[in-house]
Symmetry: C2
Subunit: 304 residues, 2 copies
């Protein structure tokens, strides 16, 4: 089933304790597409780039099965640019530069054939833009995942709550869940957030794994203890891409399959952080992915 | 099989965002004994208290099956006292008062009948005292678990390493594992620490659960998302008590049973933090414990 990804294509300059990379490919749509491409070749992308965006990177996306009809190219504009430096703990980071460039004019318009998408990954954008995308969707059975960040909770909480009310699964991290709910304990935070509308809530906890909340049920997906985290950039979007890609492939949004989707998302994210930029999730084999997923399964395997 | 617990009996004054308690019962031996008592009634305790330690608390311990022959009572001394205040996150805390009192003269001497213990939980003490206990043990099959803290890594690393070399399982938290190994990634830290001697390493990550390392194998025990953490004091010792109690009951220190022991330890710790002091782990029923253990099992249950 088709997966619509709406968000950013970007250039990132990244410094971590393991090295630096200048103007490498980044952006939520990019990570989502690369991760999801292992599960589906029906990916539809809505984003915006400048005239500086390399045509061979567009060709690479097309080769993955990504439909770029919804990609706006502003020839006289520049692509969104982000520069950041990670601290030793690989969790906190300083943003050094954020050049919105063409993203400032982003006006997501869905091509006709995109409106019937079965699955939608709505990347972190202003809640108004997210709402604009929701308004264009035309499939009563659509399953929508939403990403957001603390910034929008500070700046546009009312609009954000309107958007959250309309989605099926909210995918945020623990600090965001705490801010959104005003609750410190994640189980309490989850109850409040599920009351805001979404059927599912995924709380990402970085190296500690993630939690899936559904009614009164909780699933704890472990974090794989990696020997080397080289670059955490894009891990969250890669998780989302693997998660939504797996759902698109299977077409099953029940709780049991949702758990599997989270494990696949976690596996893809674990590949992502092992190398800079998208290098960790390019050219994976089916076997590598299946083996990694089995590692997650063995990690928590015990019998009473 | 018998479990020897060596460490502290104490009075704690505790402030958390949920309230405060003055001079309540605390200490590593206390938490270990209460938690382990659900699994074995062959508990032997070695510690020291002052004349101010209530005889009815000693009677309570005896009723749990704790042999107090190794408890030194210094009639003209005062029992170890600790006062602390937890921050909102319930992880970091300020120590307000540490009165070692009689602990300053602690000279752990094992009664003859204690030396053949099958399982030993060596609580956080100076490495020299821990070594003194090890030197008195007289059971070639003994299985020894060790707790320690950053402070001893700063103050007595050489002696600590000698002690670590002689134990079967080291039970520490993530920050301690990082300091002990000089490695940030826990999987790398674990490899280094296992090379220091212990067969097993348990790394506790608080609300995020814990990791068990054994050769190249890793087991991830989840943290139960609790709706209310009232007082984290003693959670680590309660974990250790449940863990070692379960091992004493089953007598099996293979990897598969070690996983179960960690789940039982985690379950006991989850009860501990729900109330102040020892209140959460007093008067539990077998059913409550088994149900809680099943919660852990369901939390990570998925099929590929």
């Amino acid at each position: 089933m088709s997966l619509l990804t709406v968000g950013t294509l970007a250039f990132d300059s990244i410094q971590t304790p393991f090295g630096k990379r200048e103007r490498v490919l980044g952006g939520s749509c990019t990570y989502v597409s690369y991760a999801a491409s292992y599960f589906t070749d029906e990916i539809k992308l809505v984003s915006i780039v400048g005239g500086d965006f390399p045509s061979d990177e567009m060709e690479n996306l097309r080769r993955l099965g990504v439909d770029l009809e919804g990609l706006e190219i502003k020839q006289n504009g520049k692509t969104f640019f982000w520069e950041g430096r990670y601290h030793q703990n690989m969790i906190s980071r300083d943003t050094l530069v954020t050049d919105l460039n063409v993203l400032d004019d982003f006006n997501p318009v869905l091509p006709e054939s995109f409106k019937k998408a079965s699955f939608v990954m709505l990347g972190n954008l202003t809640p108004s833009l997210q709402e604009q995308v929701l308004d264009q969707l035309d499939n009563p059975e659509v399953f929508i995942a939403l990403d957001t960040m603390n910034f929008w909770m500070d700046m546009a909480m009312d609009k954000l709550l309107e958007v959250i009310r309309r989605v099926d699964v909210l995918v945020i991290n623990d600090e965001e869940a705490r801010q959104l709910s005003g609750e410190f304990a994640l189980s309490k935070a989850a109850l409040k957030i599920l009351n805001m509308g979404p059927k599912y809530l995924v709380i990402k906890k970085g190296e500690h794994g993630s939690l899936l909340f559904y009614n009164e049920k909780i699933f704890f997906a472990p974090g794989l203890p990696l020997s080397e985290v080289v670059d955490p950039t894009g891990a969250g979007d890669t998780f989302a891409g693997g998660f939504m890609g797996y759902l698109s492939k299977t077409g099953d949004t029940g709780f049991e399959n949702m758990k599997r989707a989270i494990i696949y998302g976690s596996a893809m994210a674990s590949f992502c952080v092992e190398e800079f930029s998208l290098d960790g999730i390019k050219n994976l084999s089916k076997d590598e992915i299946e083996n990694r997923v089995r590692n997650f399964s063995e990690l928590v395997d015990f019998s009473l």
